[in-house]
Amino acid sequence: MNDPLVIAGKAYHSRLLVGTGKYKDFAETREAIDASGAAIVTVAIRRTNIGQNPGEPNLLDVLPPEKFTILPNTAGCYTADDAVRTLRLARELLDGHALVKLEVLGDPKNLFPNMPETLKAAETLVKDGFDVMVYCADDPIQAKMLEDIGCCAIMPLASLIGSGMGIINPWNLRLIIDNAKVPVLVDAGVGTASDAAIAMELGCDGVLMNTAIAAAGRPVLMASAMRKAVEAGREAFLAGRMPRKFYSADPSSPTQGLIGS
C-alpha cells in the first residue's frame, strides 16, 4: 500500500521513527534500524572528544545521511536558548539540513517538557527556517499553539520518556489528532508492539521510539515487531474498526441450516 508519511512536504516510506541511543554498539544500532524499516532516525548532539580518543567511530559513518534522514534532537536541553543553539550546531553538522526534533525538558526526573520554553524555541526556530518536529505535552491547546507557530509535526508523549508504560492518554491524543492539520506522532512511552499499534489505530500519523527497541531483550527482533505493529495499526485505522457492541453477541456463522434442526 502506498501510504507515505509526509512531513514538511517530503514523503517518507515508514511511519516508524527510531532513536539511536542505548544500543550495545553501533553494529546493533544499525541492525535494529534496518529491521525497523525506519527512514527517519534521531540523533543527539554532544561535545566531541578533543583528541583524547583519536579514531573513535562516528555514528554518522554507521548511519550515513545519504541513506537515512537524520533527525537531530535537543535531548537534555532545559532552556529555549540551549535548544536553539544545539539545533544550529546540528544544521551546520548536517550541511544545512532543516528537519529537527525540538524538545525542551522541564524536570530531569520525569522528563516532562517545559512548554513555555518549547513554544519560545519553536518560534525562534521556525523564523530561522527550521522544519520543527516538536515533543510536547498531551495538551490539545498547546499542541495547537505549536502548530500555529508553524511546527511541521506535533509529537505528544504517550507516557514518560523511556518508561515503556504505553498509551496512557488515548483521549488526549485523540483530541490533539482531531485538532491538527499537521502530522501527529506519538513520541515517548511506547513499551511493546501493541502500544505502537494502539497509537496508530487512534489515528496518529507515526510513532517515534527508542528505548522500547533498544532495551528489549532482543532489540533487532523488537525492531521488526514494531515495524509490523505500526503498519498493522495504520492499516486498521484506515480500514475503520467495527463498532463496539456492548453486552450483545452477534454470531459470524449462519444461524440457519444447523444439522438436527
Binding site: 532513536g19 548532539i45 578533543i50 583528541g51 543553539r85
Partner: protein, 67 residues
Amino acid sequence: MIQVILNGQPESLQPDLSVLALLEARGLVGKRLAVERNGEIVPKARHAEVKLADGDRLEIVVAVGGG
C-alpha cells in the same frame, strides 16, 4: 599563548591559531562535526580563516546515539 574554553575545559593555545589548525592538531579534520565560537556557528567554509582569540569559548560537537 592564549587562554580559551574548549568544550568546557580551559586550554592554552598558540596565538594566531585558526579553527582549522586547532582541528588538525586534535585529529578532527574530515570528521562530521560542527564548531561554535562565542555562541556563533563557525561554518566549515570559514574554518581556515577564523582565528581564535584570548577568552574564546568554543564548542565542537558531533552526532551521538539518542532518541
